[in-house]
Every structure is written in structure tokens, then in C-alpha cells.
């Protein structure tokens, strides 16, 4: 597709879609994982750091104090499931499935019609291969939590009225979302 290769302004990453952040304030597809932060339903100063790795779907869920989540019993806990749900809202099911290399039965059946998997279908497809808990869950938790804090810090950075010419490479594409 020559237009893609010869354009300075192709949109490589679509913008995130708006979603409610109360339950899952942070979701990202990064470092080869779907990872994020899920607020605890019972304790407002506790959050769960959850992740699923691309390819083998190895999962982890621990609190911000790096204690294991009590809901992990050989499979995805509610936090991981919530994370998948919000990721699908934010990025769309197709992008999440592609990043995780998850093939849903539905997508395979409807080959060619580009069926977009739902969060339930994705979760089911990943659970079906009986994924293991991540071996380096503790380290991953630390990394993800510090990425979440870094993400929050963007709100604290001041605005400026000095022009940023480089932003011309990042046109808004609101109307084609």
C-alpha cells in the first residue's frame, strides 16, 4: 500500500475510545502484555495490578503492596476479567486480540468477515488453553504499577502556550474513529 509508506501523516495508532475509569483506571497494551490497574471494590486505597501476557496468556494479579490476589484459583480472577473488558472498550476487540495473539472460535468461524471478538469471547478463548500464572508476577507487578504512576503524572505536567511544531505530525483524526 504505497500511500501508507509515502505519507508522513498516516495514523498508526488509533486514539483510545472514551470509557468510564472508576473501576479500571489504567489499561495498556505494552511490554508484550495486556496490563493495568483495577481499583479494589472494598478498600479505596488498594488497587490490583493485573496482566495477561501475549502468546501464552500467562497471568498475574497482585495488590499494589505486591500481595497475591485471593481470587486467583488456577485461572483468571475477576480483576483480570475486568481488565480484558475495559481493554476491549478502550482499544476495540480486534486490536486486543491481535496484540495478545488470541484466536477466538467465533473469529475463526467467520473468517473473512472480520468479526470483532467481544471481551467474553476473548476471555473464553484465553481460558480454554489453561494459561498458567506468570512466573515473574512480582516483577511484572512492580513494573506495571510504576507505569501507572508515570501515566498519572501526565496530569501534573503544566500546559504551555509555546508552539510545538512537532505536533503537526500528529493530526487529530476524531471524525474517522
Amino acid at each position: 500500500m504505497p500511500m501508507w509508506e509515502e505519507s508522513s501523516l498516516v495514523r498508526v495508532v488509533p486514539s483510545a475510545r472514551p470509557r468510564k475509569l472508576a473501576k479500571v483506571p489504567f489499561v495498556e497494551l505494552a511490554d508484550g502484555r495486556l496490563q493495568g490497574v483495577v481499583s479494589s471494590g472494598s478498600d479505596i486505597s488498594r488497587v490490583y495490578v493485573s496482566s495477561v501476557a501475549a502468546g501464552d496468556f500467562a497471568f498475574a494479579c497482585r495488590t499494589n503492596n505486591n500481595r497475591p490476589c485471593g481470587g486467583l484459583r488456577g485461572g483468571f480472577c475477576n480483576h483480570v476479567t475486568a481488565l480484558v473488558g475495559e481493554a476491549v472498550l478502550q482499544y476495540g476487540g480486534a486490536r486486543v486480540a491481535r496484540y495478545l495473539q488470541a484466536e477466538t472460535a467465533e473469529a475463526a468461524d467467520a473468517a473473512g468477515t472480520a468479526a470483532v471478538p467481544t471481551a467474553q469471547q476473548l476471555t473464553a478463548a484465553m481460558s480454554a488453553v489453561r494459561p498458567q500464572q506468570s512466573a515473574d508476577g512480582q516483577a511484572v507487578t512492580g513494573q506495571v504499577f510504576s507505569r501507572f504512576l508515570r501515566h498519572l503524572a501526565y496530569l501534573e505536567l503544566p500546559a504551555t502556550t509555546a508552539p510545538l511544531p512537532e505536533m503537526h505530525w500528529f493530526p487529530t483524526a476524531g471524525a474517522v474513529a
Partner: protein, 472 residues
């Protein structure tokens, strides 16, 4: 505006772009273990700048790179060579724009190096970019993409380094989302090479002329501060996952009766990626009262507002107050034909930076193809209907049903396109004007108000989480 000139070919353009394309292909494979085909691409770049003052530097760099032994200084030279080629393309495109608009343009002042910036921060940014060039787009992995994060975090708080920071931030996010590179089906070759080369140049000491310093000197020197009336033409929004900028294009009429000129006022802010749509306006609007004025169709009176040679106002709300009402299309019909355009800063000479405000009318809309085009006197001008903010009443439908359009003339992938800023409806019964930035300052529109509320809630949640977790 003469649309026929925009459709005509630019002489020698293909040759320059062929050299660019050959070099851009080199970066796909990376410079760690260069192949013979890559040596050819490097030579193409060196040959293309053979008549320029940097010929020897680029030739040496191409030779070293082809041998797989390029150091940082050689990679900088290659970036400079590619940037010089696009500088020439920029000049040719801009000359065509000026011919089409019939508008005079200020001459660019000679380049003056900016104040020295923290060398260690620039060096860490350059080191990352060099690693990226060695790996190539196909050699990109999560680990390399992620090493940009600490570099960006260190750059972002500094106002002088914000330009480099937002560039690397947006670039690294795209690379990260495209990992692993070896599985990429298609690569945005020109775009990533653009971002890479620009990043490399901005890491050179002195490349970034600190706008803050310009503001200080301008505040003292009356010659570079503007007093008079500002008539908004429209709002251009830029955004990536973690940054947003709005630029208001406007006609400035000096109080002393001097010639009118085109100016821009900018406001930008870093943002979490979940702040989108109306949320972007919410971040920006407290810092630029002009956003609300432009949305409401009002002029502003400026008193001693600093301005750069390029026509960028260094806005502060206390040097501006809201004036009488000013319709965009009246401004475009009455004031726009008499303006002078600003110069381009030497390092900003790239066609992507061209955004020339124009009024187009007397067209028919052709929506039959894959994209909308205005047909003016038999010539087609493609319209970039996607380049409109998410939170905006300016829809593709409004563009399709328009009879007049104020927009920005842009050039990308070898052709001109019009980015709509405001359209006037062809239907007499309908509300007359839809503007891209109509909701920038806030709105009473029912659906938009819902989006505003949702965006406020999102930021409230993030601030609450930050308050509880960031400082604990």
C-alpha cells in the same frame, strides 16, 4: 485561490522523493548489519545532497553506515541530509502555495542557535534514537521501545525540551504498538523516518530555540510584540495518546494601521491516553482564552502580545481581552485577502508543517470516490474530512453539504489536501456555519455536554487515584 496550480506537478519533486524513499527503506532494515541494498539507499541520499554544504559530511556518514560502523555523529549527518532534502521539497511546495493564494510571505530570518540545554538529557534521547536506527523498524522489540519511557519522563518537565519530549513520546508509542517489528505487514516508512530524523536534529545542542527566551525578549522589545485586533479563522487540533495541542489560526490587524498578517496561537498539554475528545478541550481551554473566543465567533484585542518571526503568538491571557463579534467567513472574505504569511523557521522546513489558511467557495462537492473532493473550476481538491476533532460539530456530512469552506492547505504523500476548519451550509434553512473548534471553549449542545461530563468524570477519577497513590 487558483486550484489549478495545486493540481499541477512540482518540477523535480519525484527525484528528491526517490532519494528519500531509498533512504527510508534503509531504516526499515536497520544499520546494525547493513545489506548491499541498504548501501545503495545510503548512497542515494548522499548523491542527492552532493551539491549542498553538508555533502562531505553525509557522504562520509553514508560510507560508515554502509560498513556497519556509523557512530552517533554519522547518524546525525544522515538525519541532516534527509532533512535537507525535505527542506527543498518544503520550499517548492510553499512557493506553489504562495502562487496559488497570491499572498506575500515574510522572509525567514537567519538561523540563530538556541540557548544551551541540558546536554545529558539530549544525549540520552540521541542514544535511544541511534539504537532505534541500528535495530531498524523490522528489528524493533518491546524492550527497545520501552527504553524511551525514562528518557521521555526526564524531558517532559522541562519547558525548553517539551518539543523533543512530545515527539519522542508519540514516536515511541507507535513503535511500541507495532512490536515486534519483524511481524509488521506494512511499515509507515516515510512517517517514522520523519519522526526519527526530526528527533535526531532536535537533540543537537542549539537546535531548539527556546520559545520562553523569545517571550522574555519580546516582552521587552516592542517591535516583536503585537497590539491590535485578532480575528480567528479556526482551530487546528493535534493529538497523540499522551499529548494534545490546539492552534488557532487568525488574522492580526495592527492598531497602528500597518499591514495585516497571519498568526497562530498555540496551547498544548501532556495528557493520560484516556483523556480524549471533549477532555482534550478541557485540558487546553483554561490556558488560551482565544479558544472560547474563536468558538463563539468573537475577535480579541491584543496588547503587547509577543510573537515570533514565524507568526506564532506566545500567548498569555492577561495580554488579550474579548472583542466584538467576528464571523469567520466575513474575516475570510474581507481580511484574509490582504494578509502577509509568516516565515518558516529554518529547521521547520518540512512539508508537514505547511498549514496555509485559505477560503474556498464556488465549488461542487464530489463525494463519489473514496474521499470527498471539492471541484473548483474543473480541478479537484481533496478534502481531509477525517482531520476534524472528535468533539466538534463539523462532520463529514456538514462538509459534503457545504458551499464555502475555510481550511488549511496541506501537503502530504505527494499532493495537496484541504483540512476544513469551518464550512458554510449550502442549505438556506440550516444553521449557517459549522466550525471544527466550535466546542473548544465549551458548548451548550446536548450531546456534547454529555461527552464533557464523561470527560470531567474521567479526569476526576485519575486525579483521585493520583492523589491517593502518587504521593503515598
Amino acid at each position: 485561490m487558483r486550484a489549478d496550480l495545486l493540481a499541477a506537478e512540482l518540477p523535480d519533486l519525484d527525484e528528491a522523493l526517490a532519494a528519500v524513499d531509498a533512504f527510508d527503506e534503509v531504516l526499515a532494515g536497520g544499520l546494525l548489519r547493513p545489506q548491499p541494498a541498504q548501501a545503495a539507499g545510503l548512497n542515494a541520499l548522499a548523491d542527492a545532497v552532493a551539491g549542498s554544504p553538508i555533502a562531505a559530511l553525509v557522504a562520509e556518514a553514508a560510507e560508515k553506515a554502509a560498513a556497519g560502523v556509523a557512530g552517533e555523529e554519522h547518524l546525525v549527518a544522515l538525519a541532516a541530509g534527509r532533512t535537507a532534502l525535505f527542506g527543498a521539497v518544503h520550499d517548492a511546495v510553499l512557493a506553489r502555495v504562495d502562487e496559488a493564494t497570491g499572498r506575500p510571505r515574510e522572509a525567514a530570518p537567519p538561523f540563530e542557535p538556541g540557548a544551551p540545554l541540558p546536554v545529558n538529557l539530549l544525549a540520552s534521547a540521541r542514544a535511544w534514537l541511534c539504537d532505534v536506527a541500528r535495530a531498524g523498524w523490522r528489528g524493533m522489540d518491546h524492550e527497545l521501545a520501552a527504553t524511551a519511557a525514562p528518557v521521555v519522563s526526564a524531558l517532559l518537565p522541562s519547558a525548553e525540551l517539551r518539543r523533543l519530549a512530545v515527539l519522542l513520546d508519540g514516536f515511541a508509542a507507535e513503535l511500541a504498538a507495532s512490536c515486534p517489528g519483524r511481524t509488521l505487514e506494512q511499515i509507515p516508512l516515510r512517517r517514522w523516518a520523519d519522526l526519527w530524523a526530526r528527533g535526531m536534529l532536535l537533540t543537537q545542542p542549539g537546535a531548539i530555540a527556546a520559545a520562553g527566551a523569545a517571550a522574555e525578549s519580546a516582552a521587552g522589545a516592542a517591535s516583536t510584540a503585537l497590539t491590535g485586533r485578532l480575528l480567528p479563522l479556526g482551530v487546528d487540533l493535534h493529538e497523540h495518546a499522551t499529548g494534545v495541542q490546539a492552534q488557532v489560526h487568525a488574522v492580526f490587524e495592527p492598531a497602528d494601521g500597518g499591514p495585516a498578517r497571519l498568526v497562530r496561537a498555540s496551547v498544548s498539554a501532556p495528557k493520560p491516553d484516556t483523556v480524549v475528545g471533549a477532555g482534550a478541550w478541557q485540558l487546553l481551554r483554561p490556558h488560551l482564552s482565544l479558544l472560547a473566543a474563536a468558538g463563539e465567533g468573537r475577535a480579541m484585542e491584543l496588547t503587547g502580545m509577543p510573537v515570533t518571526d514565524e507568526g506564532d503568538l506566545l500567548w498569555s491571557d492577561d495580554r488579550a481581552h474579548v472583542g466584538e463579534s467576528a464571523d469567520v467567513f466575513t474575516t475570510a472574505r474581507v481580511a484574509l485577502p490582504a494578509v502577509r504569511s509568516g516565515a518558516t523557521a529554518p529547521l521547520d522546513r518540512h512539508p508537514t508543517r505547511i498549514a496555509e489558511p485559505v477560503l474556498v467557495e464556488g465549488y461542487t462537492v464530489d463525494g463519489s470516490g473514496a474521499e470527498v473532493a471539492f471541484v473548483i473550476g474543473g480541478e479537484r481538491l481533496a478534502v481531509d474530512t477525517g482531520r476534524v476533532p472528535a468533539a466538534s460539530p463539523l462532520t463529514p456530512q456538514a462538509v459534503a453539504g457545504s458551499r464555502a469552506c475555510v481550511g488549511l492547505l496541506r501537503w502530504d504523500a505527494g499532493r495537496f489536501r484541504l483540512q476544513p476548519l469551518a464550512v458554510q451550509s449550502a442549505a438556506k434553512s440550516k444553521a449557517a456555519v459549522a466550525q471544527a473548534g466550535a466546542w473548544a471553549g465549551g458548548t451548550s449542545d446536548k450531546n456534547a455536554a454529555k461527552a464533557e461530563k464523561a470527560a470531567t468524570d474521567a479526569v476526576t477519577v485519575l486525579r483521585e487515584r493520583a492523589g491517593r497513590l502518587l504521593r503515598s
